[in-house]
Amino acid sequence: MSSTSSTANRLTRSARIARAPRPAILQNTGESLQLAADVLVLGGGPAGTWAAIAATEAGARVVLADKGYCGTSGVAATAGVGHWLVPPDVAARDAEIFPREAQGGYLTDRTWTDAVLDEAWYRTELIPGWGYRPATTPPPRLFAQPGRRSFAGTAPDYLRFLRGRTKRGGATILDHSPALELLVDDDGHVSGARGYQRQAGRPWTVTAGAVVLATGGTTWKSHSLGGDVDTGEGHLMAAEVGAHLSSMEFSNFYGMVPLGTSMDKNGFFIAASYWDHHGDPITYRNLHESRAELLAASLRGTVTATFTQFPPEARARVRAGMPNFFMVVDKLGVDPFTDRFPIDWVQEGTVRGTGGVHVLDHDAATGVPGLYAAGDIAARDRIVGSATGAGGPNLAWAVATGTWAGRAAARDATTPAAPARLTPTGTHGLRAPRATASARGGDSWRDVVGVVQGQMHPIAKAAFRDEEGLAASGSLLDERWARPERLVPAAGTGSGEAIRTREAAGMLATARWVIAAARARTESRGMHTRVDHPRTDPAQTHRLLVGGLDETWVRPDPDLPVTGPVPAGAPGPADVKEAS
């Protein structure tokens, strides 16, 4: 069959996307919304929409609930990222994966990287046939290679399209419907969730045979581009039913932005020129791996940058490749190709960092019956290690794990019990064992958010760590965790206020796991810089699992990294390096 006719076949098929059956409506009144489905997806970014699409492809009845609006919500919807695509070819994979193993501190696992790249390669191939026509076409890549394919998830087109595709598949989308807690049946099988529809002003409950968590990473509301919806309550929900996390020490990646802005698109920053506040040039090694040189300079004074890497004839193409970044500098009156413009930083937490819920297999299962995790909420340590997953790997991961989770959830979905027979599992931010009316609610969630941000955002604490500072941060966070009654919503667990208290609890829980893991990793590796342990310790070439609610725990992942043979002459995992 010629390639032309196979393309034609794909386009013909696109006209008929099979529609899965609709979820059942149990109740739809001013007081509450109750639906029954096979699969409930929490979060409507790339991982959530790909999960919902995969589940509907398998014929499952699917509900997708997003905290904001599926299509604009989250970092991929607003920032736009290209997918990391490498054809299923041994030489191409070796060439691509080896440098990333070094960059990722040799914590990665090739078998996972291969599986993710395979799934992302085949799934993204379907998108043009589904009718995706972005309003702007990114210019061709400067160094296109034969046999390679690129697929840009252009903002804001890509997520708007995925929303439409999700609905065409038969899924029901609930917008502005943050989830607050998971529901389990008598056997501990995750069987749905409940939350609050903040615009309709009513609680929602969805019973489902399986739940996919795709609520994103967390930035502790640093105002990075699109990241403020990512507040960690999904991680907390997973831990409340017994899931573990991984690599939470790699949760401190900072994005550089034109000073004072949210625009942390960093594709052109990683090869730019920088000067310190005296105007002296700053040299750096690899800004995907660590930004310590620039972050340290920012602690002394304002750093300036220029995109000197682009000759004048390339600039029109560069502008067209990143419309959102250039919209921002144009509004500021800055020409980044010629001006030395000031920069600062937004904490990108576990979004550009790699920590998150530990998934066990290529079903994206969490180990808790009925619960799957996909996208940035899941740890991406196996594909990027201690380096950032931004700029392609995270999106390939979202497509792959979303697909895996959606398929597996549809396959394994059991018939859920009626809502009244399910048990809510939420703790902090919803209810407390010794809550009293006088201690409840009010604005105490603001105090918790402030304390968490005070530990997680400052460069001096989060980018440059030492035992003394980590212990002090840990004490402050533990004190807040020990007062759950202060995070109980006065208006009740079925109220809009519960969204705020639950977000605060999610931010607090994730921050505590970060501190626990960062204290346990007594070395510097990738984005994790320990001022008191500046060298990389070959004996710590393993990932760290972390978990626990009242008592946090950390232990080495018994699954060791799987990296390839190191080419002769190249530095390998056993080489000790001096951290910068």
């Binding site: 299509g71 919500s73 919807a77 607003t78 949210s262 300036t304 419309p323 919209m327 144009d330």
Partner: protein, 122 residues
């Protein structure tokens, strides 16, 4: 953060209310929406892209623009065709208007880039 919702251009379609991922707006019966929770704005520019009336301007600053900022002056920004700039740039604006030529200069911005005097602590 969002600084301008032009009451003349706004058609009360409430798309911004629906699409804002952090629920910054409130719909108002029989009137244009209001920016009800400005402090929840995450400066993601989605409302500027989605507004079909080019009635919105989001300043790049992740903190509120101070009084007197040129990036809060709705009439001046509208006159320079800067409302809905992001919609234009992502190819969602119908027609051929391009706003690339008329950009405000935020002179204050470059003050931050001025090197400190010699002898300042490193």
């Amino acid at each position: 953060m969002i600084e301008v919702l032009d009451p003349v251009r706004c058609t009360s379609c409430n798309i911004c209310v629906r699409v804002c991922p952090t629920n910054v707006f409130d719909a108002v019966e029989g009137d244009i929406p209001v920016i009800a929770r400005h402090s929840d704005c995450q400066t993601c520019f989605q409302c500027e892209a989605w507004c079909p009336a080019d009635a919105i301007f989001v300043s790049p600053s992740r903190t509120p623009e101070p009084d007197g900022s040129p990036l809060r002056d709705g009439e001046a920004l509208a006159a320079r065709n800067l409302l809905g700039l992001y919609r234009d740039r992502v190819g969602w604006r119908r027609g051929t208007t391009s706003a690339s030529e008329n950009l405000p200069s935020t002179d204050d911005y470059h003050v931050w880039a001025t090197p400190l005097p010699e002898g300042a602590p490193r």
